[in-house]
């Protein structure tokens, strides 16, 4: 039995590597779950993209759930996500707030003009300072924030119809149930 030990340990390793290959075929190695889920969203005060004089704060958005979608005109995957948002934003039943991340406001405005805007409101974080509080690391990212300002769900990467149907809509329904 003692002599079988190296073999058994090695087979354990083979199992682990098998898992690793399987896991990597459908996970991005850089996907890291956010520790902010279930916690209050960070306080923020950011200008509107279209009216830089007006500031939007966390408090001003409290009262009903909304989806905060981090995007940028330089972000290639955001362009891929954009048509999905254009098509499905209405069906979410909650406001869609665009979060323009580390972007030249002019570029962002032109981008939205060209592609159309799915957003009810767009806030701009040009320095990217507030994004650190949100733990943003790769646009696009989407945060579902409930009426009390708690982050209920986060998706990293482009939203797809499948993700919306399987993950986002149930999360929205749950958020609405608790705080209509």
């Amino acid at each position: 039995m003692k002599r079988l030990l190296p073999f058994l340990v090695f087979m354990g390793l083979v199992g682990l590597f098998g898992f690793g290959i399987w896991w990597n075929t459908w996970h991005d190695a850089r996907y890291v779950p956010s520790p902010l889920i279930g916690k209050p969203a960070p306080d923020f005060a950011l200008p509107k993209l279209d009216a830089p004089g007006q500031t939007v704060t966390k408090a001003s958005l409290l009262g009903k759930p909304y989806l905060l979608n981090v995007f940028a005109s330089w972000c290639v995957a955001c362009a891929e996500e954009h048509p999905v948002l254009m098509a499905d934003a209405r069906q979410l039943g909650i406001p869609l707030v665009g979060y323009d991340y580390k972007d030249e406001p002019d570029d962002a405005r032109r981008w939205l003009r060209e592609h159309g805007s799915p957003y009810d409101l767009v806030i701009a974080d040009q320095p990217g300072r507030t994004a650190i509080d949100f733990g943003v690391y790769g646009a696009p990212e989407s945060f579902l924030i409930d009426a009390k300002g708690v982050i209920r769900y986060k998706h990293i990467g482009p939203l797809t119809p499948e993700v919306i149907a399987k993950e986002l809509l149930p999360a929205i329904a749950a958020a609405k149930r608790e705080a209509p």
Binding site: D28, R30, V32, A77, K102
Partner: protein, 160 residues
Amino acid sequence: MRLRLAMLAALLMFAGAAFATSGAIEPLPFKDHAQEVRFQNLTKQLRCMVCQNENLADSNADLARDLRLEVFQLMQQGKSDAEIKQYLVDRYSDFVLYDPPLKPGTLLLWFGPLAILLAGGAVVALAVRRRSRGNGASDNDKPAADRPGADEAADTGDDW
């Protein structure tokens, strides 16, 4: 095909974090050299979120630069290394720490080597005891050079 697309998307998602191996060089207005050293040591222990296994100190990614500045500012505010690490963990999870904190999930990591060492040590101790007990490791195991027939022994190489 779907898989291919998903992987492509994942790749593109981080396109903002440009791949570059050139070092991240930026002079910051440190109070003194000691603070600069502290900053260098701390950013080496933190992981860049968007890179292929690079630390904050070396990464040229945009986000890494932002986080370095954040670390610098927190230092200026008098935050300790532990507080700064906690600040980043609160936002990005334990993944940012190259030094995984000790908790139930990492017990194996931190104490596994000790367990292996103890188990191996026990085996070695037993082997040594067994081999050294009783019959003599005695005079005939003195260096072969002292024995008759040293020339022959030289060939087996155990005269030293």
